[in-house]
Structure formats: structure tokens, C-alpha cells
Symmetry: C2
Subunit: 766 residues, 2 copies
């Protein structure tokens, strides 16, 4: 593999490995500016309450306090949504009806809703000031369950959302005739599935430093995964020209979709605009849990109709999506969920729809998978149930119904490449499918093997403004500065982008300096979402590198007395293809370009914009081997076999890291993670790493990972996305293994021993 | 004037006016980084001494000290010159023979020569550590006067410089036959002139923050006026790939040529490389005086031959240039001095040569004028002496001999434009020349009027690598980020460059954000030297703006259904030239370029490299009116009339500021400034703003300033340089006014009452 490449495909440490390992990488929390104040937020203790009066006078008088603000201090007093849906980021245009929150609220809609904020000289003064703010609340009846929330008579959370339904969405790829489809089906399987408000659990808390200075410009250090839209959104919220905002992305300690929306950026900006000094706003861990977006949870009824031979001919999804107190990015998850729920397999008759419902809980938003994982939680289990009923191997039913090259993807774009067949076949071999499926054990502990597949997306086409621009500047020593700003979700993608640039320029990885994270000098990039960075930004990088290389080749051609197309660049050298011993170093060419007295001085800069019309799907087959203790209900995941079709692994270490990280988060999603909310008070009980159980390394099963490289025609060097993919199919594969082991299917996540025991009991006594 | 422009020619506040006025502008001294250490330098107390032994052990043991370094700790132990002459910055190629110093010295060559350095947790620990370093010196005989230094038997300062002569230079534009020229002359005037080691007196002390971190990259906050060459030079000195160095230019508190060379950057870098933590090295004011380059002083014999009608036919310059302990940038000043000394007027026979001589004094370097001011100090006085002897008006002798368009400039490039004739005529009117020359007063106080001219340069062509590249990024709100890095000499030129960009793009000045000062994202620019910024960088800005505008016009043309060449951009709007009411805002075009769902998304970036083949001269006539107290020798400058040919004043306020600042520095040069060196010990006595007298506002004479705009064909919108020009002709104009008042000519700067009294006495008793 990758014999033809010098840099691409190499197992290289991530670009920031040394900084991270030595603790010198600078995160937002490390930023200290002269005169910087500390911000703190007063949050509602009620899940639902009118705010009658705010008395800030005592807080204002506290020495060291420089600002105390509530909604009345915010100008303009504009509603917005943190998910940018009120901006023209979607081909549907701006959706002002989705703007449902203020910088600080006039009515609390969940516990933690920001009511007031202070900026003070240090944290203890800020905290004391928060405690001195007197708020008169009128508590209102609250509702925490989306089904309850839709009932007539339920407390109304937002005036404009009747029965708390913010919107009703029908999947635009719905087609066919559902009635006829199900009539013609030989088998119908259906069930209702529940997924959870999983927390992201980034090790780093949400933190923003905002600085509005005498120059009239606002600088924001933000962890947002979508820096350019974030800048545009802050401009919108505060009526500041976007060019007056400089958004800088520091190192981040994990994102997982949780930095997809704006969060502390907004109040930090309000505070710095008020005081004209820098303000740092750093969440405590319990603020992260209570206030930052959670995964968007779904309750959905899935109904699938099959012909006897296993052909899927009808699929219908009726879902309820829970938004929490505000819409945040749950609106996007609705689209993704609906699309994948009926679009993962070929099917002539299909319909998916959902209500998106407010509840008095923490807002739901983006989380690795964006709803794809919820859809597969149901679909992949129903597929196994159908296979069982029809006497077909689960592999066969998937091979039969899965989509092939040229067929429409989950959003209807033509599929450019898929190695899903190979993933299934290799996975089955590695997992010992035939043998393991038959070996279920005896007595108390039963083994089982199951699998699930996924066909994801590279990029957000056609939901979003899917383009980006980058440039590459060649230094006089022949190294290159790659200037990019896809945000940093903590995935290590900048290093892979540098590998793409190095490969194309004919340099080594250490020759490419990654300059990113400053909107003042970077060009528009949608952001680190939807597994798009390598596929979209990577393509722009490839093209910009090609442009810069062309300039180098032209210069070298003059030196070597040949034409540029006779030349090749590789490993720091440009040489004549037909006579590789004749060449010149890139360093020499680059140096002569600048240190040039022949009136040919030139600063070499390559620039490119890339906008795909496709979203080539990375695909994956996941095989789980489990052991169920039928007496205690305890589940042991013995082994996971993952086969992932990546098109091309630009850096196999990074790809593996993403898949392994996804597996870990998928195991948590499947087995242990579920923010516990007191359904009487609305209080989140699991508000720390002590009370919220996400997997540690000790919880990880044995794992066997295979990467399939069947180059995609669009991706740079054939690469497709990775990141969300590691996570999506883990839970259904485990569920299907349990089904294989003990014949039960669980519909509600997470899979706890209690639920297993209950299902086993129901199976024994139906 | 400038009716046709929206932004160019407008009197606008400088870009950083508010930040500077409110004290929020960040200078190098304001930078605080986590773990930052404070650096201090142990400097030689001897003007000339061998260093026998350095015992660092006590200093190293002091708690809080993290590094103590001397030459033995420096790797590589390489000689270099702070003026970049050892780099390929000149068409003559690198001149390694000019590399004459180490990071820390093994032999002290002036009082203040750095011997060792420390990095410690704070300033007091650092200072204590410095005092704990034990150095065993062997004092050597020293020499402070360049004439003495050239005598055989004088102490040898550098091994390779025999008789301390570092180099002998002959001006390359020398031509003709000197003997014949002087034979044919009807009048020969000659004298020997002395200029001084004037100090720059920047309000901000020299300061560097250097940070070498775990990523392996070195970041330097440097005041250097030539950031890109400075980066290249640091790479050379420390054998670091240039791409691994990021040089950031913060706000600076004055340069005046003094930040032309590297200074604290070098030791700060050595310290951070040693400790791997950031180090701040901030000079005390006396370190600035003792250690930073001074003006390069000249002693020169000038001999001019004229025909009866005033035609100059022969000119010969024999000079001695004082380098101080190291060459620094005195080598460049030699070239500039020689060029202007024989190239300011048309002359068929000319020769200029000099020895550049080491002495045991502070190194000489760049200072506003770079030697031009020294040349004019003699030439302009001798011209008046000749005019007097030949009975010709000083204006006439200048109008007769001055160069015209098409003639070779002081370096032999064709002159593109000159309004010197107009400067002289208008100046004469404003100064009341005819009347004032005749009115010398009676008795003790005598009045006089004199004048001097100059024909300077815009840019350093052909001495240096005279090119630069810039780019402009258009934001989605229609504003533009101008990404430049000509360094910041504190002149306000970035604002003028933004005016050029705004004018061309059809924006207002506040729409152009100046992003400068970071080599990671800026393209090569020679630097803020030789009045080149507006002329060279400005031209690159104009072209980059034109490219960005073209992209905007193409987009607008599509919207308006016309072709791009039918459109004009002005005041934030693109409109049809033939129907100005039909148009579209630039903001709308820019927004649609990014927020575009028609597969036409584009980040608008304009980029240009500019390399002139010319150096269009700004010209100036200065008229001084003085009063000499013949009893006390006291001189009063009553009025200065300045007429300056700028081609086009991009921002008249900035142009006036430069000319007024130059006048102030010129008054200091003429009358009061002269670093006093104890000629026995070599000690600099004037080492603070208390003991060194530079003019305050109260010392400024009445001033009348006229700007002539006769657009130059090369400069952007016709502009030529300004900056050095305000300073150069002030001293000779004052000297000529004294000559007119009391008939004495002074040859040694500064013009003190003592010297006037002495000259008056000599005149009475020849």
C-alpha cells in the first residue's frame, strides 16, 4: 500500500504530539491577557420560571466587579440560535424562525439557563458577585419528557411552539407508496427505539477568552469547530461587522460535536463589549454537563417491510426528537437522522418524519454521528430480526440491500465509492462469523456474535455551505506554511492535511508548518463537521499545493533547462522524470525565488477553493462478540472486529485513533452513558466525571481493526472521511450479538444489566 | 487636489491612533507569556579587553536562575553581522567577510560589548546573577578616534582589519577625469566636514521576547524594521531552518533606522534556545545608548570645481567612516553616503571613496538618511561658498546643477520625476528669499537666511533585494484584510497602505483591516527602510487590491448583467459607469461570494509581488531663517520653510508628520545632539534622556510646510517616499543661514555657541 507515496499513508505522529505530550500546547484556558477579567454566569436553579426582577445593585457595588449584565444590558436585544440556522448557511436560506434564545434569558427554560453574568478581577470576586445578584423568579410547571411535552395542557416552553413542537420535518428523500409497500411485504418487523442525551465529556471544559479593544476589534479565542460560521454568527448576534471580529482557535481538548455550536463565546463577548477589557469565561465541569449541548435523543417507531428473499421494500420512521430548552443544533440532527433512517439501504417505498419537541432540559445538539447512530440503533436490529424470521444470514440481508456505486446516497447524491461488501466479507472472516454464530455456549453464560454496518458521509453536502479555501506559502528554505482553518475538533486532522500538502509539494511532513486558527488570515472553511475535513479541506489543500508546486516547477525548469511538465517533485527535490539524477532541491528553488536579483523575485503562494458536489461515503462493518450472564444480566463485550473502508488512509495512525476513539464512545453509548435527570425537579444528577460513567481504557474490549483502501474518485488521494464512523454502528452490533446469544432485542439505550434481566424474564414469560 | 479620489489624499488619523492614544497598543515590553523568564546581559566595562576566563558557577547556583551563557555555550559558534550583509540580500551576493561578531564575544571591543547573559525568573534575580558572573579581563589599549585608529601602531581591534580599516570603498558611479576636471575649473572650494554619532532616542527601549517551544519552532517578537531579512538572519546565525522561525512585529515606539539591524533579538534567541522557555530581554535606557547602533559618523574632505557660470564640473570626496567596534550597518551607510556625495548634482568628473574604520566605540549603523545627511552637510555648504565667490544666487547655482527627469539618479537609475525646481521657487517665495537675504540686521544679533536641497530615493534599488509581496483577503462583509509585513518603523505607513488598498478596492479606510507583523502568514518584504514602504510595498498593495477588485467586479457583473469592464468600484459600491444609479454594494457581492449555493463559492484573495527597477526621488527645498547672537554665540532658528515634492501625499497628515519629525531630529542633529564619549576611557557619558539633549516641542522653530504633488509615473497613485527626507537638509540649511548672517561656515556638527564664537573670532582675526 502507498508504495507510490512519500508521505501519504505513512504512520506519522500527529502534528501537535510533542506539544500535547509535554503539556506546552496552549488551550483557551492558558490564555492570559493584560487586564483580563474573569467572567461568571448566574444560572437559573429552576427548569422553568419567569424572571420577574433582577437586582444587580449589590453585586455592582462589590469591589473588583467591573460589569454585571442581564438581558436589559444587551444591545441589540436580538434572538438567535447558536447553531447558525438563522444565517444563510443552508441552501434553504436563513431560518429566522429557529432563533429562540437571547444572550441572557428573560425566562428560564432549563436548569442552568443563563440569567445574568459578571466580569470581575478574579474568580472569587466573580463568584461572590454572582451570589449577590438577587433574582425574583416565578416558577412555572415544567416538562422533561418529550412525549409528555406534546400533550395538550403541557406547560408551554416557547410561545410560538404549540404543544412544544418546534417543527415537524419530513425527510426529503421520502418516496414511493407506503401503503402499497407494506401490503406487498412478506414480512413486516417493527419496534420503538429510544436513544439518550449522551454527554460529550471533553476533558477540557468549554472556555472562551474575548477581548474588545480600543482598535474597535473583537478577538475571540474559541473552541468552536466551525470558526468561520461562528465568527459570522457573533457578528449577527451583536451587530458587529464580521471583518471586525477575529476568531482564533487554540488547541482543544476534545469536541465530539459538542463545540459545533457557540456556547461561552456569546456571554464572554457580551461582557468584553461592556467593559472594553479581555474577559475569560471558563465553565466548571458541572456547567459543561448542565449547560452544553448533549447528544440529541430520539424516540422512534421503525417499521420495515421485506420480501421473502430479504429484499427491503418499505420503511417507515415516525420519530419524536427532543430539543431541550432551546433548538441549538438538534435541527441538523433531525435531518441527518431522518436521512440515514430510510437512506442507509436501497428501498423503493420510504417515509421518515419527526416532531422536534422542546422540553425543560439541557439543549440537545450535535454529537458524533448527528443522529445517524440513533437511526442505526433501530434499523440494524430490525434487519437482524427480519433475517432471523426469514432464515437468512444477517450478512446476506445486508449484502442484498446495501447501496452500490452510482446509487443515491442517504441524501440522494450519487455514491462515488463503497467497499462495504469487502468490509462485510473480511469482517466475517476475522470474526469467525460462521463458527461463532453457532457457538452460543451453555448454562449461565452465553456467547453471541452480531454485526452492524454503516455507510456514512464525507462532508455535509447538500445540507450546508460545503466549501472551503486554503492557501500555502512557500518559505525561502523550501518549507511551506499551510494556512487553514477548518477548526480543530482535536482529531489530528491538521497533520493529515499537512501530509496531503507535503505529498503534493514533494516535501517531507516536517517541512509543512500548519498555520491555523485565525480568521484574520485564514479563508472561509465550513468547519470540522460531518467527517468533511480530509475530504473537503483536504481537496482544497491538494489543489493549493498543486498550484504552489507548479510555480516551483516553473522556476526549476528554467534552472534545469527543461519544461515544467518534464519534472517531478519528491522528497525535497525536483528532478527530471526521465533522468532522475538531474535535479535541484526545492530549498534552492524556493530560496532563489525570493533571494533573486534578476527582477524575478516572487513570493510563492498557492491558493484554492474547493466545493464538492458529492459526499463519498466511508463505510464500515462492525462485528461484536459478547457474553451475557443470564443470571446477573451482566454483559461482557469480548471482542470487536472493525473493518473500515476509508478510501485512502492519509495517516493510518490518525484513522485508527478516530476509529478506536469512536469505539470507546460507542461502548459508552451502548452500555453505560446516560445523563440522569431527576424527572421531578429537572435536575441533572450526573454532572461530573465521578457520577457520569464513560469508558476508561480498562472498559475497552479486545479489538481488531482492518482498514480497507479502495481509493475514492473525489477524495484527495482517494481519501474519505473518518471520525464519526467509528462510533455509529457499535451499539447495534453489540445488541445484535446479544440477540444472537440469548434471543432478546433491547430497544432502549443504554443496555444495562437490569434491562437484559428484564428482557430475559419477558422472553421466558411472554 | 485629489478630487478624483475617495480615500487617497484624505487627512485621516493613523491606523493605530486610538490604540496609541489610549495606551492599549501592545509593544514588545507588554508581552507576557506563561513561564516567561527575564534575560539580562553582562557587558564589558572595558572598551578593549581580552576575556581570559568566565566563571559562571556562582550565578548558576543562584535560585531562580535558569541559564547562564557565554560564547562557549553557543552552538553553532558562528560569526555574523547584524546588518544581514552575510546574507544574499545584495546583488553583490553574501559578504561573509563582513561577519565580525559572535552572539557573545570572546574579546570586548567597546564598553557594553556583550560577554555573558542570564535568564532568570525575574529581573532582580537576573541582575543578581549578572553580578555573580566572574570575568577575568586583560585590558588592551583602546582607540576611539577613527583617524588615530588608522595610524600604524594603533591597537588592532579585529585581527583581519589592518590599521583597523574594515574596507575601502569607491563609489561605483565615480566617473570622468578628476585631474582634468579640477584643471578646467574656474573655482575650487573645499573643506573637511565632521558628522556625529547621533543617537536615535526611540522612546521605547530595544526589547525582544523570544520563545522556543516544544513544537520546535522559535517565535520572536522583534522591533526590527526588516522582519523578513531578520528572520532569515536569525536562521543563519543559529542554523535553524527559516521556516521554523516566526517573527512577529508588535507596535514599536520609534525606529529612525535604529531597528534596522538585529540587536536584543540575538541574545534573547540564544537564551530561549538554551532554556526552552520564553525569554524577555528589555534594554535599560543606558543600554540603548551604549549598545544600540548610533548614526554612522563621517569625516570627509569635499572638493568641488565650478565653471564661472556656476556649472559644477568636478567633485571629489575622500572620507573616513567610523564603524565602531563592529561593522553593523555602517557598511550600507558608506554606500549611501558615497552615492549622494557625488550624485546629488549633475557633474561630469566625480570620485568618492572612503575607508571604513573600526574604533573601540558603540557600533555605527543606520540612521534616518543613512549617510545622505552627512554628504549634504558638506556639499550644500560648499555650494553656497561657491555661489558667494562666483556672485551667483544660491538658488541659481542649485537650479543650474540639479538633475532633471531622465538623468541618472545618485545610483545611476533614470530619474522618474522631480519637482525640485518648483520646491525651490515656492520655498523662495514663502521664505521671502530676496528680501530676507539682504536683511542681516545690525549690532549684536544678526539675521540670516539660507537654504539647502535634497533629492532622495524611494527604495533601495539597486543596493538591495528590492521586492515585496502582499495579499488582500476580502471578508464576507465586504471589508478587506490587508496582509503586509514591511515592518513598522512607527511612521504610520500601514495606514497609508490601507488607504491605497481602500481607494483601489472602492472601500472606505475603516473597511480595510491591517493585518501585519507575522512572518508565518506574511510574504517577503524587504522592510521599512530607504523611504520604500509606500513606493514599493504600496505598489504591491495597489496591484493586489486590483486583483481582488477584479474578482469582485466579475461577480458584480454577473449580478448586474453587464461586463466587468463596464463597472467601477467606489465608496463601498460597484456600479455601472454609464448608469451610476445601477449598482450593488461590495458587501453584498462579498457576502454572496462566500455564502453561495450555486457551486460558485469563493474566498476572494488578491496577491501581488512588486519589484521596481527605479527609485523615484522625493525632493525637497529647505529654507532656514536664523538669528546669531554674535556675543554669546547663541543661535536662534526663527523659521523653517520646507517645500517637499512627494509625488502624491497618500495621507497628508502622515507625510507632514514625517517631515515635521524629520525637522525635529534635524534640528537636534544640527544644534545639540552628540553622544559625548570620554576619549580616555571610551565611556559614553550621555547615556540617558537627562544627559543627552534632543529637541522637545519647545525647541521647535516656526515652520511652514508645503507639499508639492506632481505624480510620479511609478509610485502608487504617483506617490514617492517620505520619512528620511524631512531630516537630511535641515543642518546645511541652518549652516547656510548662519553663513548669510555672519559669514562663517562651520564644518563640525553640532553647531554649538562655542563653535560659532570660535569661528567668529577666527573670521575677525584670520
Amino acid at each position: 500500500m502507498s508504495q507510490e507515496f512519500s508521505v501519504v499513508g505513512k504512520r506519522l505522529p500527529r502534528a501537535d504530539a510533542v506539544e500535547r505530550a509535554t503539556g506546552t500546547a496552549k488551550f483557551a484556558g492558558d490564555i492570559k491577557l493584560p487586564e483580563m477579567l474573569i467572567g461568571k454566569v448566574l444560572r437559573s436553579p429552576y427548569p422553568h420560571a419567569k424572571i420577574l426582577k433582577i437586582d444587580k445593585s449589590k453585586a455592582e457595588k462589590l469591589p473588583g466587579v467591573e460589569a454585571v449584565i442581564s438581558l436589559e444590558d444587551i444591545e441589540p436585544r436580538k434572538q438567535f440560535t447558536v447553531s447558525f440556522a438563522d444565517l444563510p448557511l443552508s441552501p434553504r436560506g436563513p431560518m429566522p424562525e429557529r432563533a429562540d434564545q437571547y444572550v441572557l434569558t428573560d425566562k428560564a427554560r432549563f436548569i442552568g439557563d443563563p440569567v445574568a453574568a459578571v466580569a470581575a478581577i478574579n474568580e472569587s470576586v466573580a463568584q461572590e458577585a454572582i451570589e449577590l445578584i438577587e433574582v425574583e423568579y416565578e416558577p412555572l410547571p415544567a416538562v422533561f419528557d418529550p412525549i409528555e411535552a406534546m400533550k395538550s395542557g403541557a406547560p408551554r416552553i416557547h410561545e410560538r411552539a404549540e404543544r412544544n413542537i418546534a417543527l415537524h420535518a419530513v425527510c426529503p428523500t421520502s418516496q414511493g407508496d407506503m401503503e402499497k409497500g407494506f401490503q406487498e411485504a412478506d414480512l413486516i418487523v417493527e419496534d420503538t427505539y429510544h436513544t439518550t442525551k449522551q454527554a460529550h465529556c471533553q476533558l477540557e471544559s468549554a472556555t472562551t477568552v474575548a477581548s474588545f479593544d480600543a482598535s474597535g476589534r473583537l478577538t475571540i479565542w474559541s473552541q468552536c469547530q466551525m470558526p468561520h460560521p461562528a465568527r459570522r454568527s457573533l457578528a449577527h448576534i451583536f451587530d458587529i461587522p464580521v471583518g471586525d471580529i477575529r476568531l482564533i482557535t487554540p488547541h482543544v481538548g476534545g469536541s465530539f460535536g459538542g463545540r459545533n455550536s457557540l456556547c461561552p463565546e456569546i456571554i464572554a463577548t457580551a461582557l468584553t463589549l461592556k467593559v472594553g477589557k479581555p474577559v475569560k469565561l471558563e465553565h466548571t465541569k458541572d456547567e459543561d454537563f448542565r449547560v452544553c449541548d448533549t447528544r440529541t435523543p430520539f424516540i422512534f417507531k421503525a417499521k420495515l417491510g421485506f420480501k421473502k428473499d430479504g429484499t427491503l421494500i418499505a420503511i417507515e420512521i415516525k420519530a419524536t426528537t427532543q430539543a431541550g430548552g432551546y433548538l441549538s443544533r438538534s435541527t441538523t440532527c433531525v435531518n441527518v437522522f431522518l436521512g440515514f433512517s430510510i437512506g442507509s439501504y436501497r428501498c423503493p417505498n420510504k417515509l421518515a418524519e419527526t416532531d422536534l419537541v422542546y422540553t425543560n432540559t439541557t439543549p440537545s445538539g450535535a454529537f458524533r454521528g448527528m443522529g445517524h447512530e440513533s437511526a442505526m440503533w433501530g434499523i440494524e436490529q430490525l434487519l437482524d430480526r427480519a433475517a432471523q424470521r426469514l432464515g437468512i444470514d444477517p450478512l446476506e440481508i445486508r449484502l442484498k440491500n446495501m447501496k452500490k456505486v452510482g446509487e443515491p446516497s442517504y441524501v440522494g447524491l450519487p455514491i462515488q465509492s463503497t467497499a462495504l461488501d469487502e468490509c462485510i466479507q473480511i469482517g466475517a472472516e476475522k470474526a469467525g462469523w460462521q463458527k461463532k454464530r453457532a457457538t452460543k455456549g451453555q448454562g449461565r453464560k452465553r456467547q453471541g456474535t452480531g454485526m452492524a454496518i454503516l455507510m456514512h458521509t464525507s462532508g455535509s453536502q447538500p445540507f450546508y455551505l460545503e466549501h472551503c479555501s486554503v492557501y500555502i506559502k512557500v518559505n525561502e528554505d523550501g518549507t511551506a506554511n499551510l494556512v487553514i482553518h477548518p477548526g480543530d475538533a482535536g482529531t489530528g486532522s491538521p497533520g493529515s492535511l499537512a501530509q496531503i500538502a507535503a505529498e503534493e509539494l514533494g516535501l517531507l511532513l516536517e517541512d509543512v508548518h500548519i498555520i491555523y486558527g485565525d480568521t484574520d488570515v485564514t479563508l472561509f472553511d465550513l468547519g470540522s463537521v460531518a467527517c468533511r475535513t480530509i475530504y473537503v479541506t483536504g481537496n482544497a489543500v491538494l489543489r493549493a499545493a498543486r498550484q504552489a508546486k507548479q510555480l516551483l516547477l516553473e522556476r526549476a525548469a528554467e534552472e534545469l533547462g527543461v519544461s515544467p511538465d518534464e519534472l517531478e517533485a519528491r522528497e525535497r527535490r525536483i528532478y527530471i522524470k526521465a533522468a532522475p539524477e538531474k535535479g535541484i532541491t526545492i530549498a534552492e528553488v524556493a530560496h532563489k525565488a525570493i533571494y533573486n536579483f534578476k527582477q524575478e523575485g516572487l513570493a510563492i503562494l498557492g491558493k484554492s477553493t474547493f466545493e464538492p458536489t458529492t459526499s463519498s461515503p466511508p463505510t464500515q462493518a462492525v462485528f461484536a462478540e459478547v457474553e451475557v450472564d443470564t443470571e446477573s444480566g451482566k454483559l461482557k463485550v469480548l471482542k470487536m472486529v472493525i473493518v473500515h473502508d476509508i478510501g485512502r488512509a492519509i495517516n493510518p495512525i490518525t484513522v485508527e485513533g478516530q476509529i478506536e476513539g469512536g469505539l470507546s464512545q460507542g461502548i459508552g453509548y451502548a452500555l453505560t452513558e446516560n445523563p440522569a435527570i431527576n424527572m421531578d425537579s429537572g435536575e441533572m444528577i450526573t454532572d461530573s466525571f465521578e457520577t457520569y460513567k464513560f469508558p476508561s481504557t480498562l472498559d475497552m474490549p479486545e479489538e481488531e481493526l482492518t482498514i480497507i483502501e479502495r481509493p475514492d474518485p473525489v477524495g484527495p488521494f482517494g481519501a474519505k472521511g473518518v471520525g464519526e464512523t467509528g462510533y455509529i454502528a457499535v451499539a447495534p452490533a453489540i445488541a445484535n450479538a446479544i440477540y444472537n446469544a440469548v434471543g432478546i432485542q433491547l430497544t432502549e439505550l443504554p443496555i444495562t444489566p437490569e434491562k437484559i434481566l428484564k428482557a430475559l424474564a419477558e422472553k421466558s414469560n411472554p
